[in-house]
Amino acid sequence: MTGTDFQAGIERVAKKLLEITDVLNTLDAAMGDGDTGVSVSKGAQGVLEHVTANPAGDDIGKWLAGVGMAYNRVAPSTMGALVATALMRAGKEVLASSSVDDIGLAKMLQAANVGIQERGKAKLGDKTLVDALHPAAEAFSAAINTGSSLEDAGQSMLEAARKGRDAAMPLKSMIGRANWVGGTEGKLDPGTVLVVTVLEALMRV
């Protein structure tokens, strides 16, 4: 995959996120402060402006890190820091590369996953986006490493993310603002919905 592919992927994700801001706000209102969508839409818009002004070039890694920082600048706070960390860590895996193969993609997703966990200190089962991202990254790596096609690996990744999202639903939020609010059990965590949406957009689902 080239820089152009990455830029197209980022743009697809950003546009898709702009479509689900209301959903994210509603989910967050039920168990947080109701602003996930507000923050994500600021971030997505900022990213679209940034990539228009700074198209991807020869260094995919550096470019991705720049996209992450752009997101954090326009939409800081929790989600901004997590998104920026994910993109910077993923980018670090492919610094100075002008194209990335499937194994590289798997490493990037794992790096993003590890980075988010290091940054946010959320554990599996704390009912955060980690509950969707972690199994997805694991499934994708496993599939790629056992020789699956990108398409198939992507499908396993998506399935794992959706399963993780649903499995987190009955849990109680243990971290972040949702941790203050009672009665989070049985509600969808907006972060897990966001992860599934991002992966779907990458997969053009």
């Binding site: 800081p76 901004g80 820091a81 997590l82 203050w180 009672g182």
Partner: protein
Amino acid sequence: MKKILNDPNNFVNEMLEGMYKAHPEMVSSVGSDLRCLVRKDAPVMNKVAIATGGGSGHLPVFLGYVGQGMLDGTAIGDVFQSPSSDQMLEVTKRIHGGRGVLYVYGNYGGDVMNFDMATEMASLEDIEVRTVLVKEDVASASKDRADTRRGVAGMVFAFKIAGAKADLGASLEEVEAATIKALANMRTMGVALSPCILPAVGRPTFNVPDGEMELGMGIHGEPGVRRGKLETADQIGDTILETISADMTILSGDSVAVMVNGLGATPPEELYILYRRVHDNLEQLGVKVHKAFVGEYATSLEMAGASITILKLDAELQALLDHPAHTPMFRV
């Protein structure tokens, strides 16, 4: 909504413009980013720099404490939202005087993540950064989970101690150590009587019914330890002091600083009524109040309520507390 505003989306920036216009001799921005506010004379060379940051809506926290003897700079975000790590980095670079930077700020997820990112970026610029997290709110978690506690008004004491130590020429390690010591000897607990309204939202994001109070509620509406009938000032003072002294030993002969902090809409008269009881209780325990701070030091917009902070003093902390400070909203 009972607010004096223009476009609610410009709340933070217009407030900042007002601050720069009101205190041109004390503060300036880093370049054109109003949300990166530093001492007018930054960087102060050969001094450890103190930085903080977090969401807006808590004045005098953070901006009101930037100045001589306290903070060198701060990055602030939207109301109750973290600033970006970029902004923290800009402040860090601008205030660095060659002897390192200490981050002192409250233990909130978004702030921690962004400051940690800024720390990593600063290290790439060869700026040594250390962090002391303020997490002195006893009501926010039990003692065995004390590391997850929030930072509230005690932040102001932390700024004061760190700022004074740095002003006296101490090294980064020494400033860090004094601040850690202050925090180990400090506890806060608050009570909220009414919510606050985010300008961009226009209605309360949580509720405290009339005639009720929430003991231990956080400054963004984080739930506390007990919601119930509004108690008397004396009962509130007793409960808070008991909770604090169950968490930190306060002995006869100790010397302390006390802060009775208004959350926004509670008048100073009520804060003094509360202080009266705290003072009497401490006196009965044989504890001496070295200095009392009664007023609005860390607020939540127009929330009604108050918090009480106790800081146990040894000779060093007492001297640091009494060290001069001169900032837009605080003066010793």
